[in-house]
């Protein structure tokens, strides 16, 4: 394992060191004392393991394709934003817009996620072990969100496609988000996926999908549109 000490270094220098170690063939890299710096571990395209020994700031693991990143602390806004593939695990709480626009891979938040988690997801899976904030799954287009705890207001607001599973209480549903029955196939998927990350599954889940009423404009739905916009 290679260690990088962040003390006195900018994010740019730290990211260059990560890249340098990967090019030298290193597959296991530990970033020490990150102290919530922004943009750590962005755009890593190799299947390596990165460990952040502490909290990270905004956009950690953004634009990655392949690595496994573990954050041994909390994270700021835009965790794993636009990730193509890989795994990003945060051991504590996540800030606003975790897993924003991801196209694939898995994001796991072991604590709670803040507002707009899973915003505009285009694939992949986001798992929140704790609770999830306001507008979770806002405008999501594809992929799966699993929240084991409770969700705040406007869940799944204006989602186009994709599915959201909630184990706890739902404060309220967003525009055009509807509850659908959980299938046996869903149950199996939930059990397998959560077991993969050693997360105990809640007793039951509710499933939320798009009502598809916002797909085409219809004058009859004007109130829904006004609300959504």
């Amino acid at each position: 394992m290679k260690d990088i000490d962040c003390t006195g270094k900018t994010s740019r220098v730290i990211n260059q060191e990560i890249r340098h170690h990967i090019q030298a063939g290193e597959t296991d890299i530990r970033v020490q004392h990150p102290q919530a710096r922004h943009n750590l571990g962005v755009a890593v395209l190799q299947q390596v393991s990165l460990t952040m020994s502490g909290s990270v700031g905004y956009y950690c693991g953004g634009l990655i394709d392949g690595p496994r990143i573990e954050v041994q602390g909390s994270c700021g806004w835009g965790l794993a934003e636009s990730m193509l593939n890989g795994t990003v695990i945060v051991n504590q709480n996540a800030g606003n817009s975790a897993a924003a626009s991801i196209r694939g891979g898995t994001v796991v938040v072991r604590g709670s996620a803040s507002s707009r988690a899973g915003i505009a997801m285009k694939g992949g899976t986001m798992i929140v072990q704790g609770n999830s904030g306001y507008m979770t799954g806002f405008m999501m287009q594809k992929g799966t969100i699993i929240v084991c705890g409770d969700t705040a207001e406007a869940l799944g607001d204006s989602m186009y496609e994709g599915r959201i599973f909630v184990g706890g209480r739902i404060a309220d549903l967003g525009n055009d988000a509807v509850i659908e029955e959980v299938t046996d196939q869903d149950q199996e998927f939930l059990a397998t996926t959560l077991a993969q990350y050693d997360i105990a599954a809640p007793a039951s889940f509710q499933k939320i999908v798009s009502g598809r009423r916002l797909w085409q404009f219809d004058k009859k739905d004007f109130d829904t549109w006004r609300e959504a916009l």
Partner: protein, 308 residues
């Protein structure tokens, strides 16, 4: 984009290194806005002491004007300490019967004068430039007390000078101060109403109205916490702000969750900042942080240190 920070000691230490902690937090955030910076620190100074901070103008020299102002203040209350720090005249006085009339009397001396703060526990310094410059002028790191708030500003709409810097004291209400990150979009509408009621505005900065709002509601009998709570529905826009009174610290998080804020609430202290970096670089790695939920208010008081 601004940086706001707050800290409250819960251990019962009345001499906590509040100035140093706020400065460390602000220094970690100064890239969010290097236009101006400031802190408000609260300390127990005994019953008969009240700190008065007066801005004499934007450009010196200030010595002659300072003498005139001190004479004016002496004619109204008794003055025990006089300190001229750059454009900021710091006086320790006996508490006035009416903070508002003392303020008016001082500001009548010259149009360049603004009473920047007044309070039995509050001391407030701010200026154009980075937190490092603030430290160079005011030695903020030496300020001790119970709690405080700080700000580093990137101006988006109004002028960059001392008056437009933050924290803003709630003019007319001893000890209440505010730091704000965001926009109050119904500012002009609310300002017009307050102006019709005779309130004076010192700046074109929308953040100034928060202090005025809190002062107004507390004057009508609302508690500090209640005033913060009602502000959530009365203000429009995307905002996170921190407010402090003689014994309390609180945050208000907007109904859209557009402006960042993180909190840690430990048995020893509560610390709040725009970004986690501020908390980590000032206070270390050994505590969890969380983002306040949308549309929420939380306050802590120095006496019990329990959040509600």
């Amino acid at each position: 984009m601004c940086g706001i920070v707050g800290f409250l000691d819960k251990s019962g230490n009345r001499q906590a290194a509040v100035g140093q902690t706020l400065l460390d937090m602000l220094s970690a955030l100064d890239r969010r806005g290097p236009d101006s910076s400031g802190v408000a620190v609260y300390a127990d100074r005994g019953v008969d002491a009240c700190v008065l901070r007066i801005k004499l103008g934007e450009h010196g020299p200030f010595e002659t004007l300072a003498d005139v102002v001190v004479e004016r203040v002496k004619s109204l209350v008794s003055v025990s300490t006089v300190d001229l720090q750059g454009p900021s005249l710091r006086l320790v006085v006996t508490p006035p019967e009416s903070p508002e009339s003392l303020e008016r009397a001082i500001e009548a001396v010259d149009s360049s004068i603004e009473v920047v703060s007044l309070g039995s526990r509050l001391d407030l310094v701010k200026q154009v430039g980075s937190p490092a410059n603030l430290e160079a002028t005011y030695a903020v790191s030496s300020y001790v007390g119970t709690h405080g708030i700080g700000h580093t500003r990137m101006s988006t709409e109004s002028r960059v000078d001392l008056s437009h810097s933050q924290p803003f004291w709630a003019h007319g209400r001893a000890d209440v101060a505010v730091v704000h990150n965001g926009h109050i979009t119904n500012y002009h509408k609310m300002r017009r109403i307050y102006e019709q009621q005779g309130h004076r505005f010192y700046t074109g900065n929308d953040s100034e109205i928060i202090g005025l709002y809190l002062a107004d509601h507390m004057a009508q009998g609302a508690s500090f916490a209640d005033a913060l709570q009602t502000s959530l529905t009365d203000f429009d826009g995307a905002f996170s702000y921190l407010a402090a009174s003689a014994d309390s610290l609180g945050y208000v998080k907007d109904p859209f969750a557009f402006k960042p804020l993180v909190v840690t609430d430990t048995p020893a202290y509560v610390a709040i900042a725009t970004e986690e970096q501020a908390l980590r670089s000032a206070l270390g790695d050994d505590f969890p942080v969380w983002e306040p939920g949308v549309n929420t208010v939380m306050t802590w008081t120095v006496e019990d240190g329990v959040g509600s």
